[in-house]
Amino acid sequence: MIAYLVNLATLVCINAVLAVTLNFIMGYAGIFSLAHAVFFGIGAYVAAFIALRWTDSLLLQLPAAMLIAGVISAALALPALRVRGDYFVAASLGFQVLAATVFSEWKSVTGGIGGLVGIPPASIAGHAFTDPLQFLGLAGVTLALVVVLTTAIVHSSFGRSLKAIRDSESAALAFGKNVALIKTLSVFYSTAICAVAGVLYADYLSFINVESFTIDASTLFMAMVIVGGIGTVWGPIVGAVLLTLLPAALTYLPFLPRTEIGSVQQMIYGLAMVMLMIFKPDGLMGAKQREA
């Protein structure tokens, strides 16, 4: 039972890192990306690739994954500089579909549909995180660092510039904001930290395949942000906790056949989203309802 809870808690931490980084661009830069799972996947594949061929050292896997995800984030930043709102969502969706195809076809690197197995546990300075409890500690510390860093950025001058661009791009330009640079940097930050979650994920599960990095995953991450409260500090974390634990909780419903869990889950997600949009459009942690 303890092992089970530790496992859940570790996944919650990883998902929370993903939700926090997605919230950073959704809530503060106004960039609604349906391609977040791509960078999660890039982090995971880079970590697995390095771990299987060269080293299990996190100190090498992390920077490599962050750098590669950050560079590839240009694929997201470029459309974000040109189109906004719905058009960008569509562009990111296209990118997500494309990337999922690459993940499943580029067999020499990603192992194709079958994925990669036997990824060794991560290590730092020769200490391998083989004990799940220790790995939970690693994931928890990572989450804490990401939350602290992201919150600091949001409250800095850079964060204010981001929010200004989100609220009015033309006004931000008129007040001397280098909009293109600021947007590009924000996407770079978001995707690079997203890749950190990918590294932890691969090293933790020791098995990855494309299933974890598809549009379904991207939708789930976006749901975490929206359910928890977009543009808030704690919202994405609450969203990640809820939407990670939900499937686990559903397995304890005695009247539910195990084979049906998947579809029931989808129905509950859908229902929760609709109810939320009706009763709490700013998310669970969102600002209290404003007067109309």
Partner: protein, 257 residues
């Protein structure tokens, strides 16, 4: 009335517009306009709706690119320069629809304007404490000192207008382009607004303002430029322009279009 520039020699030109034309699919929104915006005075752009006044602002600030002609800031052409770079040269503007940073607080709206750099250090803007001090001063002047933590979205109409002014005050720009900043203000707010403009001009700010209210036009203008259907019909001292019966008939809509 402001009589800063009654000397024989006109003040130096800060921004020069030369034969500027902007077409949208063949329709000319601005047509062959040449205009000098002179240092330290208030130039008012008047003219009926659709005269091309806001388009002219958008051309100056780089939000639009001219079809032909030139715009020179202190003698250097700024055509094709990115809007944020033009802003940093010292040309700031307000928008007719305000475009406040609506989900940010009043304080943040003003503070972020002072923070030019995309990075975390703000080399040009002094220390953080100095900037915050300056924000409070500006909010005091614009009467928003009790609204510091309120979201821009939640402000009343006149307060939103003043926040728009507070933002431009925070820029340290030499030239302000104001797009109908006083429209819809009640008499008391309007008085505060005129006082504010005058003290800023005394501080050395050059202002170009789009305004419809003739009472305001008369009370603040050092020069008036009259636009109609994209063309500059007249440019001169207020008495000259406002005394011209032909212009006033156009202005008051006795035109067949």
């Amino acid at each position: 009335m402001l009589q800063v520039s009654k000397a024989q020699v006109p003040p130096a030109t800060l921004l020069e517009i030369a034969n500027l034309t902007k077409s949208f699919d063949g329709a000319k929104a601005v047509e062959d306009v040449s205009l000098h915006l002179r240092e330290g005075i208030i130039t008012t752009l008047v003219g009926p709706n659709g005269a091309g006044k806001t388009t002219l602002f958008n051309l100056i600030t780089g939000h639009l690119r001219p079809t032909s002609g030139d715009i020179r800031w202190r003698g250097e052409s700024i055509v094709g320069t990115a809007p944020w770079k033009i802003a940093r040269l010292g040309v700031a503007r307000t928008f007719q629809d305000l475009r406040l940073f609506s989900h940010m607080t009043v304080f943040e709206n003003v503070l972020t304007v002072m923070e030019k750099s995309a990075w975390f250090w703000q080399a040009e803007a002094g220390s953080g404490a100095e900037r915050r001090q300056r924000v409070h001063e500006i909010l005091e002047i614009t009467g928003l000192q009790h609204k510091v933590g309120v979201r821009a979205d939640d402000l009343a109409y006149a307060e939103r207008k003043f926040l728009s002014m507070a933002r431009i005050m925070a820029t340290r720009a030499k030239m302000w382009l104001l797009d109908e900043p006083a429209s819809g203000l009640d008499p008391r707010s309007y008085e505060r607004f005129v006082t504010l403009l005058r003290s800023e001009v005394r501080r050395g700010i050059t202002i170009c303002i789009i305004e419809h209210n003739l009472e305001i036009v008369v009370s603040i203008s050092d020069r008036i430029s009259f636009l109609d259907q994209g063309r500059l019909l007249a440019d001169g001292e207020p008495e000259e322009i406002l005394g011209n019966p032909e212009l006033s008939s156009i202005y008051f809509g006795e035109r067949n279009s």
